[in-house]
């Protein structure tokens, strides 16, 4: 158990170090000079050189990398090339917005996937199971932004029930916040839910074939109670793995959905940063996303142990 934790932690740290080099490297080879983009079309070469110096772009790549990494370790994200304000607070503001989307999207996905997947598995030879299966296949095929556009067309433009886009912080107007959150969270959650449903279905199908479930049924439990008490915990291990992987997809999906719904989250910050060549900001945001995904996967690994007692004992 302890050995496993140490091993996983080591893997996490090495992955973080390698990815920081990769993220920095990609920014360094990206075409387009941040100083020239900031100064615009007619800037003189002297002015560009001067701004490069101000940005610290004239230093060696190694110095730039270690300065950046050192800053990150002290939670200092640096100052934006373009807006000239500190990056840390900006990321923090935008992160709050994106987290709402991701968390509510994840909840929607779970609320859809767990019951639907279970029913699909339990009735996999019946019409209702097959019909659900077909619907979920359709959901897998639709990208989140298309789902968003379709939902907007129907619920905002045609029916006028919900706003087409925009964002209000929950503290300033909770009603408006909820109304504006529904469509983007659904676009993200339904699509993720459809993917997740497939995994829940196959996990539950595997469990249904197990001896202990037959025993439970033999004791006289009906199918769903038997599954509830004895099956779902076992089915949870593969599903949690996928959920961890899906968090990355959700974050990336949020980038696109934020654009469709005009939401000032991390995704729109990232896109603006790329087009303005606000490289330090892009570097910080991408690194943050990488850290989030790696840490979530680490936690998933740890969570196995909690879910599956067999992994806790008898190693080596």
């Amino acid at each position: 158990m302890v050995l496993r934790l140490v091993e996983r932690t080591a893997v996490l740290l090495v992955s973080l170090a390698v990815s920081s080099v990769l993220v920095f490297g990609f920014m360094a080879v990206l075409p387009g000079d941040p100083a020239r983009v900031a100064l615009g079309v007619n800037a003189s070469d002297e002015a560009v050189a001067q701004l490069r110096e101000q940005f610290g772009l004239d230093r060696s790549l190694a110095t730039q990398y270690f300065d950046w990494l050192g800053g990150l370790l002290h939670a200092d994200f640096g100052t934006s090339y373009v807006s000239k304000v500190a990056i840390g607070p900006q990321i923090f503001d935008r992160l709050q917005v994106t987290l709402w989307l991701v968390v509510v999207g994840m909840i929607v996905a779970l609320v859809v996937a767990v019951p639907a997947g279970t029913v699909m598995a339990a009735r996999h030879r019946k019409i209702s199971g097959l019909a659900l299966s077909a619907i979920s296949q359709l959901g897998v095929a639709v990208p989140a932004f298309l789902a968003g556009i379709l939902l907007i067309m129907l619920f905002a433009v045609k029916l006028g029930w919900l706003p087409a886009n925009g964002w209000t912080p929950p503290a300033s107007d909770p009603g408006m916040f909820l109304r504006q959150l529904i469509l983007p969270a659904l676009s993200l959650g339904l699509v993720q839910g459809a993917v997740l449903t497939r995994y829940v279905r196959s996990a539950v199908l595997d469990v249904l074939r197990e001896d202990y479930l037959r025993t439970a049924r033999a004791k006289g439990l009906r199918p769903f109670p038997a599954l509830w008490r004895h099956g779902l915990r076992n089915a949870a291990v593969p599903v949690v793995t996928v959920l961890g992987l899906q968090l990355a997809t959700l974050l990336i999906g949020a980038v696109v959905v934020e654009r469709v719904f005009v939401i000032p989250g991390l995704g729109s910050l990232l896109l603006d940063g790329v087009s303005n060549r606000d490289l330090l900001l892009v570097q910080d945001v991408v690194m943050l996303l990488v850290v989030a995904v790696l840490v979530v996967n680490f936690l998933v690994d740890v969570l196995y142990v909690a879910l599956d007692p067999r992994l806790r004992v008898g190693q080596r």
Binding site: P31, I152, W167
Partner: protein
């Protein structure tokens, strides 16, 4: 039914109720602006500023939001293109055309409380040379000296006569700053305008508040929100669902039909300064031959091109001059569409079958017009290889800075930019001493001379085919029917909010 299923049903039911409650929560309050004296307006725009400081950050979005609204200049340009008074009540030009004397208005105040005086004007003009970092600062190089004769009289001496200088004073270069209000330009701009800066939700919107201490006619709306949309469909939806009242600039003209057919909206079409130029790299051997350049101009059916790639909206122009400039003439007939003429010119130049590299910025109009240009040029026997470069960063470096291209398509939106664009130092690499002479004479002469010489220059680049002018971008504004005071032409750097009202 077993308890588990019942529990699940109950859970699903309450979730549905929550959804319904959320849906209806806002339906009681109208999403539109309230009525009465304190009205507000929301305008949808495309590009959000990266900073609020146009002295150090380039980009059209900053002056679009702030110039004329928050900052004012000594002079401004009216909708028809004329230079009219703003913070200067009047001005005189000396006989040698080198000294300008401005009489300033006496009741203007900055939003930080300081009065606007000639000393602020001197400070602002000098500051362009010392503190500005964007390229536009070069327009102030011609100023030799600026001095405050009295608190309300300003005298500016130029090193040589320049009509262009007074015109540039209508742009952001001429914005008047407070001597005590330039500490936080990037986040807290201070000006004398009809609106003051309210707040900025980055990635979303900028709010401007009415300046109740404004020296001129106070604006109708007490609050204007400039809301930014990266996605044209989202922008259209925002107007359709009442989140905004005005679409400042329609990006996708093919989507206009949903508004023209709806009586709730008005569609305004005017002109801009945005010439969509098919630029040639005149330093490439193939473009050194005037016949090749002329052939390309003759090979393009501009009417068909405009219909295909910009839904027929926009104006055909034959040179680098929009109709709102005093020296505009219709030059579309200098190179009328003729495939035969194009073919024979190419044959004479020995350029038939040549491959040209058309490097396009990733902008919707450039991408779609580029395809039309390619197909039309291939019909007369040229080969065109298209590649796309991310805009702005990659395009700026490759095409603009390094001139590594044969042809490109970009809208040149800067006002009165003929001289700047067709110069040997610019990415067009257009080296023509005769043109430079005409331009210099236009800048130095009186107003009448300026018009005559600029006409000559415009005709020269058209006849010499220094580039091809695909069309002039239209100014397309869609708004709620009851919004008044929207300008038809967008020819200044600002989106002027001062005359907007609701009937």
């Amino acid at each position: 039914m077993n308890t588990y299923l019942t529990r699940a049903v109950a859970l699903a039911g309450s979730a549905a109720l929550l959804l319904v409650a959320a849906c209806s929560a806002g339906s009681g309050t109208s999403s539109g602006p309230s009525t009465g004296a304190n009205q507000s307006l929301a305008i949808g725009l495309v590009a959000e500023p990266a900073s609020l400081d146009f002295t150090t950050t380039d980009g059209a979005a900053i002056p679009q939001a702030l110039l004329t609204n928050v900052y004012e200049g000594l002079v401004k340009q009216d909708e028809s293109g004329k230079i009219v008074p703003d913070l200067a009540k009047s001005w005189t030009v000396s006989a040698d055309r080198k000294t300008y004397t401005f009489e300033l208005v006496d009741n203007a105040k900055f939003t930080n409380g300081a009065a606007f005086t000639a000393a602020d004007a001197v400070f602002s003009i000098n500051r362009v040379k010392t503190a500005w970092t964007t390229s536009l600062k070069a327009a102030m190089d011609v100023v030799q000296d600026a001095k405050a004769v009295s608190p309300k009289q300003l005298q500016v001496t130029l090193s040589k006569p320049s009509n262009d200088w007074l015109f540039r004073m209508t742009t952001r270069i001429g914005a008047m700053f407070s001597q005590t209000g330039v500490d936080k330009l990037a986040t807290d701009p201070v000006g004398t305008g009809p609106y003051k800066f309210g707040s900025w939700k980055r990635g979303d919107s900028i709010v401007l508040q009415r300046n109740d201490a404004y020296w001129g006619t106070k604006p109708f709306f007490n609050q204007v929100t400039l809301k930014y949309f990266k996605d044209p469909t989202a922008l259209n939806n925002a107007l359709l669902t009442g989140t905004i009242n005005v679409i400042g600039t329609v990006q996708a003209p093919e989507a206009l039909s949903q508004f023209t057919s709806n009586t709730k909206y008005q569609v305004i079409e005017g002109t801009t300064n945005g010439e969509v130029v098919l630029s040639f790299n005149n330093s490439r051997p193939v473009f050194k031959d005037v016949r090749v350049r002329q052939a390309i101009r003759s090979a393009i059916d501009h009417k068909a091109l405009l219909d295909t790639c910009f839904a027929g909206r926009g104006k055909l122009i034959g040179s680098m001059v929009p109709p709102t400039d005093p020296w505009y003439e219709d030059l579309t007939q200098v190179a009328p569409y003729s495939k035969d003429k194009a073919k024979s010119l190419l044959a004479a130049a020995g350029a038939t079958g040549k491959t040209l590299r058309l490097r396009l910025p990733t902008l919707p109009y450039a991408t779609s017009c580029g395809q039309v240009v390619k197909s039309q040029l291939e019909q007369v026997g040229l080969k065109v290889q298209i590649d796309q470069l991310e805009f702005p960063a990659a395009w700026l470096t490759t095409v603009f800075k390094n001139a590594d291209y044969d042809m490109s398509i970009i809208a040149h939106v800067e006002p009165r930019d003929l001289g700047a664009v067709f110069s040997p130092k610019y990415y067009t690499r257009y080296d023509d001493p005769t043109l430079q002479q005409d331009l210099a004479a236009a800048d130095a002469g009186d107003e009448a001379t300026q018009v005559t010489d600029m006409k000559k220059a415009a005709r020269r680049i058209s006849e010499e085919a220094a580039a091809d002018w695909l069309f002039l971008l239209p100014n397309l504004v869609v708004a709620d029917k009851n919004i008044t005071g929207l300008p038809a032409n967008a020819i200044t750097e600002s989106f002027d909010l001062s005359k907007l009202a609701r009937s």
